[in-house]
């Protein structure tokens, strides 16, 4: 049986991620030990954040399963629930229902492969979770390339971690911003351009791409040019959701339910669907 009851959690920490203040990362800890033990997720899954009196919203899980004891969610202030969430304080009670969806195949198709992670803007959250997971079992994967772009340096998420990853030899990290900015000495240029330049050969590789539709659209041609096929590319869709359990029908794209069959699909799966996402 599915349950609509969220696990009660407390906000343990709040980090303002971006310079405009619209992105905050919430660190949540379970109120009850049994719930903490019951929780198992894979990177790429999402959960319903539940605020009593406001409602529920589906948000990608930004923490890796290897970061035990707490959950991280990076939330953009946009609608009714997220606005209320942004006004909450450390110590406040809320709820988490999940984990929901399928997630990236970190222990399946991705095993033993070279991994290319391409992220644009706020969509980096579940890819952060993925990268941390991969690093925890670094020896199981080949080369790891992480490409991440944002509009300005101030709009990059997880800046401290980006610095740490940059130091590591075993990650090929490329962080880019759209236009030259004062104080920025890193890459400048759109994600598709950078991806075309630094992506490894398609052989024995898997790519995970999350970002605005326009970025995904322009990232594919340079990859295809060097031999990538649609089966190697994993995307994460999003649609309005209510139950997250495949019952309420809100997130359907043709016969597919994003919440249950997804949110992670290969690009060839996505191509079979009507454009209703």
């Amino acid at each position: 049986m599915i349950s609509y009851m969220p696990y009660p959690v407390r906000i343990d920490d709040i980090v303002v991620e971006t310079e405009d203040g619209n992105q905050k990362t919430f660190k949540l800890v379970f109120e009850q030990e049994a719930h903490r033990k019951a929780w198992h997720h894979v990177p790429g899954q999402f959960a319903m954040l539940s605020l009593a009196g406001q409602g529920e919203i589906p948000i990608g899980i930004a923490s890796s399963p290897t970061e035990e004891g707490h959950l991280l969610f990076t939330v953009n202030r946009a609608g009714k629930v997220t606005t209320a969430l942004h006004q909450m304080n450390i110590g406040d009670r809320m709820g988490v229902r999940g984990p929901l969806g399928n997630g990236f195949p970190v222990n399946k198709e991705m095993n033993g492969k070279n991994i290319v992670i391409i992220a644009g803007g706020f969509a980096v959250t579940t890819l952060r979770a993925t990268l941390i997971s991969l690093l925890a079992r670094r020896q199981d994967y080949g080369k790891i390339t992480f490409i991440y772009g944002a509009r300005t340096p101030g709009m990059l998420l997880y800046r401290d971690e980006l610095k740490q990853w940059a130091q590591r030899e075993d990650i090929d990290l490329h962080v880019t911003i759209d236009r030259e900015a004062p104080g920025w000495d890193g890459l400048v240029g759109f994600v598709p351009t950078i991806a075309g330049e630094v992506a490894p050969s398609a052989e024995n590789s898997v790519a995970l791409i999350c970002g605005p539709p326009i970025m995904i659209k322009f990232t594919m041609p340079p990859l295809e040019k060097i031999g990538w096929t649609d089966d190697q590319v994993y995307l994460s869709l999003e649609n309005r959701m209510k139950c997250g359990e495949g019952v309420c029908c809100h997130c359907n794209v043709g016969p597919t339910l994003v919440c249950k069959d997804g949110p992670v699909f290969t690009r060839s799966q996505v191509k079979q669907l009507p454009i209703e996402y």
Binding site: G53, E56, N239, K242, V247, G254, P255
Partner: protein
């Protein structure tokens, strides 16, 4: 299966008996006056004295609301300041009291089985199913808008019914279909039906059967893209006004929305009927709407019933009750939509 003989008088007495121990409901034929709110619109509580009257064709309101109440409280909580449980969700106690819905038609009984497919794992739907007994009446007459046999049902079908009454020359025969049906029949002193009556019903079933369902079944094999891109949707979407009348009167439309309601510090999370006909149904917070156009929403409803649902679960999500055909404000007729779809090259 046990089959008994029941006269009209005995039927009334049976309802009386049931209403002493259970909640018994019957359809309202005319516009319903405001009654107690413990009952869905279109149904009334039977508490002795009132005889059952049925019209030809489906009941005015479907049985959907007994299984999928509008609204259903999923969770409750308090938001009172300084309350130790502030914001802590609680599940409301689910009622176990048996409710008996009398006067159900075979189409609606089948709709419960269809809705059960997506709701297999839903605790609320299943709890309601557990405690609801359906007492149905097969249709000796149908309306011109009825098309249950095209959808794989039958006017004489007993599928999904706990007790199925069928008219005979001098009353009814009743088939006891389930354990819940047994419970309702327990303690009643009824004569078994005669062999001739049982075989008469069987022969009606075999002649008025599911023969014409085969043609429509070819839709299930059709390639999605072909149906999706059919030119027919444009004119259909143009005349549709995107109200939710069809979805809300439909026994097999089962979408819901979830929302929090707070009144003076007391809150509840409810689910209530939603319709894919509404723009809000698919609207993203960013403002992007994957089905922002009327035609996309109209198409989604029909393809969900005739393609997406069968792809997932097998049968069509339509029982052919014809309510939408009768009540659509702009006369969008699903039978015409189906024949147009079959003609799509």
């Amino acid at each position: 299966m046990k089959v008994f003989k029941v006269s009209s008088v005995e039927l009334d007495a049976m309802m009386q008996e049931w209403s002493k121990v259970h909640r018994v409901y019957a359809p309202v034929l005319a516009k319903q006056p405001a009654t107690s709110s413990d009952c869905a619109p279109g149904w009334r509580r039977v508490d002795g004295g009132s005889a059952l009257t049925l019209s030809t064709g489906p009941t005015p309101a479907s049985v959907k609301s007994f299984f999928f109440p509008q609204p259903e409280t999923l969770l409750t909580y308090t938001l009172e300041n300084n309350h130790p449980d502030k914001g802590l969700m609680r599940e409301p106690a689910k009622s176990k009291k048996m409710q008996v819905v009398v006067g159900v038609r075979p189409c609606d009984a089948r709709s419960v089985l269809l809705n059960n497919l997506p709701y297999q794992e839903d605790p609320f739907f299943q709890a309601n199913r557990q405690r609801t007994a359906l007492v149905g009446f097969t249709c000796e007459q149908t309306l011109s808008t009825c098309f249950c046999s095209q959808m794989g049902g039958s006017p004489f079908g007993s599928e999904g019914l706990d007790l199925a009454f069928s008219r005979t020359q001098d009353g009814f025969i009743v088939e006891v279909g389930t354990a819940k049906g047994e419970v309702l029949m327990a303690g009643l002193d009824l004569a078994p039906a005669e062999e001739s009556e049982i075989s008469a019903l069987a022969s009606r079933r075999s002649t008025g059967g599911k023969a014409d369902a085969t043609e429509l079944d070819t839709l299930k094999g059709s390639e999605l893209g072909r149906l999706y891109d059919a030119p027919m949707w444009k004119s259909l979407g143009e005349s549709c006004i995107n109200c939710g009348a069809c979805t809300f009167i439909c026994p097999t439309c089962y979408c819901f929305d979830i929302q929090d309601e707070v009144v003076r510090g007391q809150g509840r999370r409810i689910r209530y009927w939603d319709s894919c006909m509404f723009p809000l149904y698919s609207l993203h917070t960013s403002g992007h709407n994957p089905r922002g156009q009327k035609v996309q929403r109209t198409r989604n409803r029909f393809l969900h019933k005739l393609k997406y649902f069968p792809d997932r679960f097998g049968p069509f999500s339509c029982v052919g009750c014809g309510r939408c055909v009768q009540d659509c404000p702009v006369n969008i007729d699903i039978r015409e939509v189906m024949s147009d779809l079959l003609a799509v090259e």
